[in-house]
């Protein structure tokens, strides 16, 4: 893999949602519009054949980034570029739109319950007119085999499958438009661990065989570590740490990343011996509607000082990792 072509690039992307109450109630209560800043000036780049993971707790904006990346939402600010073109321009061309697809979290909601599996998998093929007639069914059988199902499974309806099998159908559908870039939004968090292992292994096999690029979104750090080359840690709509997975897991810079790593229960801790020091993070994630001033992590941060409360930290390079933290920048981190 000598080629390092950028497939998707996000430049200072912001996305806000209007969460105000309906006009009449708002007027009667005398309150203004309320805006939720789900994604705040996020930048990243995904290169061909690699995996970028976004990790964070609920409400950090990672799923919104995923939807922005496939054009389900339009950015409120900044720009997303796909193959060097503005994303909305790229998505207007079927030939480019075909090259992106998405895998979802809930294997029960992501397949239309009234459709046969073969029609579900064939939908992108038909939508992009990639094949016709008998060839469609042959291709569907081939795709089902590729994800570890049998071509005969195409006759069945989604409810006849287990969660793991449905997620395989979901992957087959995503692959059927022959994409290069897949956005995976928590693809295994609804699955049991042994099934999760099947799906993660399958996704990595497919990546090796077909050079697929993943934008992988998860709250599970261990899964993220297993899957990714590049990692972005998100907190309240911002990427607070960004860099190669090995560097971040080996030496986390941002206090939030560190606390997150410390907080994960791990089977290595069994029996009390050999346990990593585990210090629960105090406090909870604040509401993204009225985020704290300055660095949004400061109320929970052990290193916070006056500057952190007043000033939004910029990303600074430390080795091969970008971190948005005053303490890291000033060298107070260690």
């Amino acid at each position: 893999m000598t080629e390092t072509r950028t497939i998707l690039e996000a430049i200072e992307v912001t996305r806000t949602f209007d969460v105000s109450r309906p006009w009449l109630q708002r007027t009667l209560a005398g309150e203004g519009r309320r805006v939720l800043r789900a994604v705040d000036a996020v930048s990243f780049a995904v290169t061909l054949g690699r995996t970028l993971s976004l990790v964070g707790e609920s409400g950090c904006g990672k799923s919104t980034v995923g939807r922005l990346a496939v054009g389900l939402y339009a950015p409120s600010g900044g720009e997303i570029r796909f193959e060097g073109q503005n994303l909305s321009a790229a998505r207007a061309q079927p030939a480019l739109r075909r090259r992106t697809n998405m895998i979802f979290q809930d294997p029960y909601a992501s397949l239309n319950p009234r459709w046969r599996v073969s029609d579900i998998v064939a939908e992108p093929i038909r939508a992009f007119r990639l094949l016709k007639g008998r060839d469609v069914q042959d291709r569907v059988g081939q795709l089902l085999t590729q994800v570890g199902l049998s071509p005969r499974d195409g006759e069945k309806y989604p409810h006849e499958f287990s969660g793991g099998q449905r997620q395989r159908v979901s992957i087959a559908r995503a692959l059927s438009s022959e994409p290069e870039f897949l956005v995976c939004d928590e693809p295994t968090s609804a699955l049991d661990v042994s099934v999760q292992a099947q799906i993660l292994n399958l996704m990595r096999d497919l990546q090796e065989r077909m050079q697929i690029t993943y934008l992988f979104i998860s709250h599970n750090l261990a899964v993220v570590r297993h899957m990714s080359n590049l990692l972005g840690v998100m907190y309240l709509g911002r990427i607070v740490e960004y860099g190669p997975g090995e560097s971040i897991f080996g030496n986390p810079r941002h206090p939030y990343t560190r606390l997150l790593l410390d907080a994960i229960p791990d089977i290595g801790m069994a029996g009390g011996t050999n346990s990593r020091a585990r210090a629960p993070i105090g406090g909870e994630v604040p509401s993204p509607i009225s985020p704290p001033s300055g660095c949004t992590f400061h109320p929970r941060c052990p290193l916070a000082n006056a500057r952190c409360r007043a000033e939004v930290p910029r990303h600074t390079l430390d080795g091969d990792v970008l971190a948005a933290c005053h303490a890291v920048e000033e060298g107070r981190g260690a």
Partner: protein, 303 residues
């Protein structure tokens, strides 16, 4: 497995076999339907054929009465028409109008509901406020109003020719909001589901997503409400005919028969109105009981 065998094995079929109420209702409905559908072949007389009427046969009581005649099992009316045959033909007309107006209400309701639920925003607000306003009036009032307006707007000979269609339109219009609201609610839920997002990611048009993805998934409740509304629609038609704004006596529905008979109720000729009335009650009751059963059978929470 064939489709029929699969259906017989399904949970819905099982629940049907296990429900005595549903079985009884289905039996009663089947008898009434058979009588209505086969009326031209099995009815003793043809009440629409004016030439066969004989005033000598008028006001004959049912057959078990001392003055009854075997050729008129349920007696005759003041024109000498056979009551049983009148009911059989009347149910035909009532059913056609009921079913057609419910289909009209379903089609209109689905269209409005899908559009409002999928598009959201101002369109949704406007359509749903219209539905809300209409729901504050009794359906029969709306049907009366629409019937009156349309009849007045059409030229005389045209509205006589189109009386059935006008009736279907007026009754259908009075029931669309229930369907629109239900479909809109389901559409809002389905629109947020990930399979709809998957279709949007590959760039399908909104129309195609609504028709191929959302529509099949919102039909379940529509069938249930449709069944229950059918009972109401048949009653609406009967009420309108009873009030005299429905079908003319020349093509009498069950409601018309009840109205005609009503004039003779106090002069002792009770059979003219009681038998059509009883038929109407049985028809609507069995449809409603089946609708109730269907609602429970399709509700996974009660299974």
């Amino acid at each position: 497995m064939s489709a029929i065998a699969r259906w017989l094995d399904s949970d819905v079929a099982y629940s049907f076999r296990r429900s005595p109420v549903a079985l009884m209702a289905a039996l009663v409905l089947a008898i009434i339907l058979a009588g209505a559908v086969l009326a031209p072949w099995i009815a003793p007389h043809n009440p629409l054929d004016l030439a066969s009427l004989n005033l000598m046969d008028s006001r004959i009581p049912p057959v078990w009465d001392a003055e009854g005649q075997r050729s008129f099992p349920l007696g005759t009316d003041d024109q000498g028409r056979d009551i049983l045959s009148g009911i059989m033909y009347g149910v035909r007309i009532s059913l056609v109008i009921g079913v057609a107006s419910v289909i009209f209400a379903i089609v209109a309701g689905i269209a409005v509901g899908l559009l409002a639920g999928y598009a959201g925003g101002v369109l949704d607000a406007v359509l749903m406020r219209v539905a809300d306003i209409q729901l504050t009036f009794p359906a029969i009032l709306i049907a009366l109003l629409v019937d009156g307006v349309v009849t007045a707007a059409l030229p005389q000979e045209m509205h006589e020719r189109l009386k059935t269609q006008v009736l279907i339109f007026s009754i259908g219009i009075s029931f669309w909001p229930q369907f629109a609201r239900t479909v809109r609610g389901s559409t809002l839920v389905e629109r947020g589901r990930e399979y709809v997002m998957a279709a949007r990611v590959i760039g399908l048009s909104s129309g195609r997503i609504m028709l191929t993805h959302i529509l099949p998934n919102v039909l379940g409740p529509v069938f249930v409400i449709g069944t229950l509304t059918l009972g109401l629609a048949i009653l609406s038609e009967a009420t309108l005919s009873f009030l005299g704004v429905g079908l003319p006596p020349s093509s009498p529905s069950v409601g018309t028969l009840i109205r005609i008979g009503n004039d003779f109720l106090f002069s002792g000729e009770w059979w003219m109105t009681i038998f059509p009335g009883l038929t109407l009650v049985l028809l609507v009751l069995s449809i409603n009981l089946l609708g109730d059963w269907l609602r429970d059978a399709l509700n996974p929470k009660l299974r």
